[in-house]
Amino acid sequence: MTNLSAASAGPLRPRTLGLVAIALLLDGVASLRMADWSHQWLPLPASAAAPYVDDLFALETGIGTFIFLGCVSVIGWTLLFNRAPKYDMDDGDPIEGNLRLEITWTILPLVIVMLIAWHAIRVSDTLATLGGKVRVTGTAEAMALANSGAESSRSVAAGSFGPIEVIGRQWSWEFVYPNGVRSTELHLPLNLRSSFHLIATDVIHGFFIPAFRLKQDMIPGSVIDYSLIPTRVGRYRLRDSMFSGGYFSSNQTDVVVESEADFQHWLEQAARQPLKPGYNEARRLYEKRLAEGDRGWATVPPAPPPLVHVSTNPAAVHVS
């Protein structure tokens, strides 16, 4: 990094330059390796957004590693070679500043972060997951609005599926498909853009699928349009990401991504199932608490589990 050139209080000697060049080279190699490795710190990428997010993260990991190692190397160097021997009460070189150096380390970070920001803006434009937002005064109005949207032809373009109503409650998920099927686990067709109406009935919830790298808060009083494209068949976790009170941690379910044919088949099968209360972890824990004498601090009781055609299977194994 720039601060290595601070070595040059006098004219640069070839040996110093050589050392700096080797250090920068090693730093660069290490940073590239870290950027590469960073993909493994993330869950499997399963949506069209995931590769963009992962690449952006890898880019930042690479740049960040370069800066971090550069700074820490210089600090380490001073710790090794600039320590005062015991009983040495002298002062160091009275260097008060260096204008050129200071301009460099002002401009360089500015350029780096602005390039990252510019790139990030382009990525956001490509993903275009967030649609409009309509203010409502209550859950009934939200549902009515979402349904009217489903019936009219608005927003459903060719090559896409939906809209699916996503309803967040304390503490359950409910998904309503355009054909009226209800489930507590989310099924999505592969490689199609699925669109959603996100509705929260009580408090704020977060619609978060780590494998998709996507997250959107669901806000009481608003119906938020959202869309995404799953790109990998499998069963993934969907988690509530915005703290929602008592049994917040249990408010998770699965997303099942299937080929379009399998998905259509599932929809038809599901429509023939009777409505029954979905599996609800929060309810189970709350009943256990009541059975044990209702100890603990105050919480609102869980909302009744939604009546659905297809319930979550708590024993199912998710990929990531």
Partner: protein, 563 residues
Amino acid sequence: MSSSVSFDPRVLKTPQPVPGAPDNWKRFFSFNTDAKVIGIQYIATALFYLLVGGVLAMIMRGELITPAADLVDPSVYNGLYTMHGTVMLFLFLFPILNGFNNLLIPPMIGAPDMAFPRLNAAAFWLFPVFGVILMASFLVPGGPSGSGWWAYPPQSIQNPLGHFINGQFLWILAVALSGISSIMGAINFVTTIIRMRAPGMGWFRLPIFCWTAMAAQTIQLVGLPVLTAGAVLLLFDLSFGTSFYRPEGGGDPMLYQHFFWFYSHPAVYVMVLPVFGIFSELFPVYARKPLFGYKVVAIASFGITVLSLIVWVHHMFYSGTPQWMRNLFMVTTMLIAVPTGIKVFAWIATLWRGKLRLTTAMLFCLGGLVNFIFAGITGVMLATVPVDIHVGNTYFVVGHFHTVIFSTITFGIYAGIYHWFPKFTGRMTYEGLGKLHFGLTFVGAQLNFIPMHWAGLMGMPRRVASYDPEFAFANVLASLGAFLLGVAMIPFILNIVSSWARGPKAPPNPWQAIGLEWLLPSPPPAENFEDDVPTVISGPYGYGLGKPLVENEAHYVARALEA
């Protein structure tokens, strides 16, 4: 009190710490207007709450060491994490930094005391009041607030038991009182720095700690009224049936998020700026070099102040914020990398070709600096909209936040304590215990907070009481780190208590530091320089430059030694 030396009886009764007088400890429990007494009152009370917050954290980490919620009920976990955050921010960090402001600002600028001593004491005495209110919330039916330190409505205003006095009610009351106390403090600090500097001490001869205190307290004055207003509206929604934040009544929960973050993001800078000040004071002392680029480092503090007030929406990227607003706030947030980068590079350049003395204080500074560089990098990642959409509200944020709040800010606070302890108590601390404290804290912090980043990248939401088994390994590491941090407190407490009781007597300037406070005896007399205020003739940090800091410096050095 069984000293064989006889004292003038008036000395025994004086509420001020008089050098050589028997330790009249009662002054620390009275409405004392001396900034040095108030400073120690703040720091001692805050350190007590650090232990409280730390115990809460260790119970949480005990719960999280296994995936299932098996140690405490989830509702209890929610209360614990809410109180942990609230205690650490409002009862530890803000008060302890105000303690530093009280101790350091007047001697550093050659003032006898704060501009408004009674206001200062009143601001302090609000602290035990809201401290007790917050602790009392553990005892009310239903337990303390369990809505996180953000207290987002509608969850925070659900009030499950329906009592008027409930945990959330007391929480809001405590936070609002804390805000009032901080505003009172801010008025005092800003006025003191503007109006009470020694002759010759122009802005560019002011120590960086005072620059950063000024920058931080400016944020308090601009931002805190907004949070306090937001909290009052929340109290009305909770207790009096209004609907500022209730959609059924035409309100909007998003409004609260704006109020909250308009202050609470800058609040992090209120805490980190004084620590930047501590780093800027200590690196020159222990590297024996002038602070590299002093003027730019000073001005960069205000760059951070200005930017801090226009970045708050980066906490709401996934809250339905439109794309243009996300982009705008991403750009402003990323700009913060520039003034903070200037400071980081200046500190590193200060170390370069120095004569480093690795005292405990210096070790905490170096550790804090390395941790802060790491936190800065993850901070830029969090500012990046598409990355934040994935890692926002996960343990990645928890890891980042703790690397800032603990591994940088608290490290800086420890450094400040070890550095200025001799000055204000008149006793040296033990280096061996100090270095043990540093070693345990450094290792514990990395073990605790680095695995959190990984858990977050894998998709573990923050604030959960239970989690899927794939996050177990990262959480076991984090819990072990947390327990190690608990162990690290033992040498620290031992050191502070035993040094104060019977540590070696401290000379006026044990670190050969340059600064007005080091021209005073240890501990300084009640009114610092009294009527003999030195005239400042050069900038701070003149290590190796051979220029005196004040006119007739030898006189002040001799006077301090005599006392």
